[in-house]
Symmetry: C2
């Protein structure tokens, strides 16, 4: 079968791999329908974080091809969304709704076949995969389902972690797909004023479509100054940090008012940022790797009812043969996020 093959910095090509097989009786094999490239995949692509060569990716939707003998809830033909981490559903962290910290779980990228290929094995299939009711969906709907695999849930985790309330003034630091989904999430939770920090006109446009009321196009201290000015010198109730850089963390803490929370979901790629800058301001920091499995059912309902349209973050659609371009376009910021059409539903 065909799948993306990570060969080191700047090099993701199409490769040939053996088809995955059931290894445990709780496994399922998924025929991938759509997958996509994550901002965190770019850390590897850019050589900033290490990744083994070979299969890569962790966001996918698809159709169950085969199940192990202990899989009870799913059967071949079922259409499912895979959260980017698999989880057993029974450990203390899973039971508390933090499936992304499952003691037996891992990312699809690190723990199994990656996501960017024709077939993927899912461990703990019953606990991990979320079945989508129905079978006749538009391209837009399929894109939104794919966004539920990671970015939409990650943006929502920022908003939930920051405890956004009805009427809040919030800011989103980062205009990538996660940041844009954080805007959807802030609006869903009732934020009245949503300040998007973005200097890219195309992304500003999507930010406004999703509910941003103000745009700050400055960066660094100038972004802090501009946001403070917009909030009468007080700062925002919550800042959603969706980048993971030193500058983004410092900006997020810098614009949050006393007693507020930074919802932090950017994969940490910073070294200088320290918690005590938040301490002195009485600003909390909460977040982490999003428990997508907790959020997918609720957000799937929102997608099915047409209340949210996170698939809008995909502005490049390609196929597996063009996986290199899917990465390059995001790396060069020509695309917000690349969707890869692997097979028909």
């Amino acid at each position: 079968m065909k799948a993306a093959n990570f060969q080191g910095k700047g090099k993701v090509v199409l490769g040939d791999f053996p088809n995955p097989k059931i290894q445990e009786q709780t496994d399922a094999i998924i025929r991938v329908v759509r997958t996509c490239v994550c901002g965190s995949d770019l850390w590897y692509y850019r050589g900033i974080l290490d990744h083994e060569t070979g299969r890569i990716g962790h966001e996918l939707i698809g159709v169950i091809e085969e199940v192990g003998g202990d899989v009870k809830e799913l059967k071949p033909g079922d259409f499912v969304i895979a959260p980017f981490k698999f989880s057993d559903g029974t450990c203390a962290n899973c039971l508390a709704g933090f499936q992304s910290n499952c003691i037996h779980g891992a990312s699809f990228s690190a723990g199994t076949d990656g996501g960017q290929g024709q077939f993927v094995r899912s461990p703990y299939a019953d606990a991990t995969l979320v079945k989508v009711p129905g079978s006749d969906f538009s391209e837009e709907m399929l894109a939104s389902f794919t966004a539920l695999s990671d970015v939409m849930c990650t943006g929502y985790h920022a908003a939930i972690s920051a405890e956004i309330k009805e009427g809040d003034t919030i800011a989103v630091v980062g205009d990538g797909a996660v940041g844009l989904c954080a805007i959807i999430s802030a609006k869903k939770l009732g934020a009245k004023r949503i300040i998007a920090l973005s200097r890219n006109p195309a992304r500003q446009e999507v930010a406004k479509e999703f509910g941003a009321t103000d745009i700050v196009s400055e960066r660094g201290q100038a972004a802090i100054d501009a946001t403070m000015k917009l909030t009468d010198g007080v700062g925002v109730n919550a800042a959603l940090e969706c980048v993971g850089s030193d500058e983004a963390m410092e900006t997020a803490v810098g614009i949050t008012r006393a007693g507020g929370i930074v919802g932090a979901v950017g994969v940490p790629n910073y070294d200088n940022f320290k918690y005590q800058s938040a301490f002195w301001k009485n600003v909390g920091i909460r977040g982490g790797i999003a428990p997508a499995r907790q959020y997918i059912p609720e957000l799937l309902e929102d997608v099915l009812k047409g209340r949210i349209n996170p698939g809008r973050v995909f502005d490049l659609t390609t196929d597996l043969e063009h996986i290199s371009e899917a990465y390059a376009a995001m790396d060069e910021r020509r695309a917000i996020k690349s969707l890869i059409k692997v097979s028909e539903l």
Copy 2:
């Protein structure tokens, strides 16, 4: 008048200072009844943090001696508790209940006369000081009122920031006066199991009196291991960090379960601890300088009704003449916290 005089590392003596005078019409002059030495005063005493020479201290209760023309709520003779920071009561942070981040406020130590002396000037007297109803109080009650000036509110801020709920399992890192008050606070909020990290038998005793159900006497990684064992490998719902050192922060994050919160109130005296260790565990960190002015009315009611007895943290009582001993006893860990009797109520 007499007051503590900080003369540099290891040296706090009794000094002579001019009596404070009304400077603004919103000021009040307080005749100090009780004051005490704070764990944070020890950072200066030990030469770890800088402090100007001269007056020091920021925890006090006393009787109003004189008020400026714009003071409406208080009059000479009123018995008051001073939160350790004064605040204007009108800025956005004050209105949100974060008076410790008042844009015109400061610590009594940094912004006015310190607290350890016969008289102290309070700026913004109406907004800052909390009147205590009644005039006939036991020594124990006076000690508890003094604890409301800082440590009890600071311990409570840890518990509130960590969002402790009925039935939670929590841990308190630090067995100083703040840590002990955090135990009172966790119990008040309904924690079912309270694990106190303490290796000092006298403090363990107070911890148990206040509601600790388990004691962990190990430190560092051994403390993490012992606490994880007590919680079946899962960790606590919340850890209250009441020290402010690298080791305490790392321990607090290390023992908190996925989705839990570290309530951090130890004045930061760490340099290595970084937020990302919490990120990967989906552990939030919230806290900061306690808004004592927000909490005093509620906690005063608890003290007056006999529901809490935070004054129990004082295990040395002396007078202003023995201010050096008050510091030395805490520095040498012979005392948990030193109470200084300045005048009769």
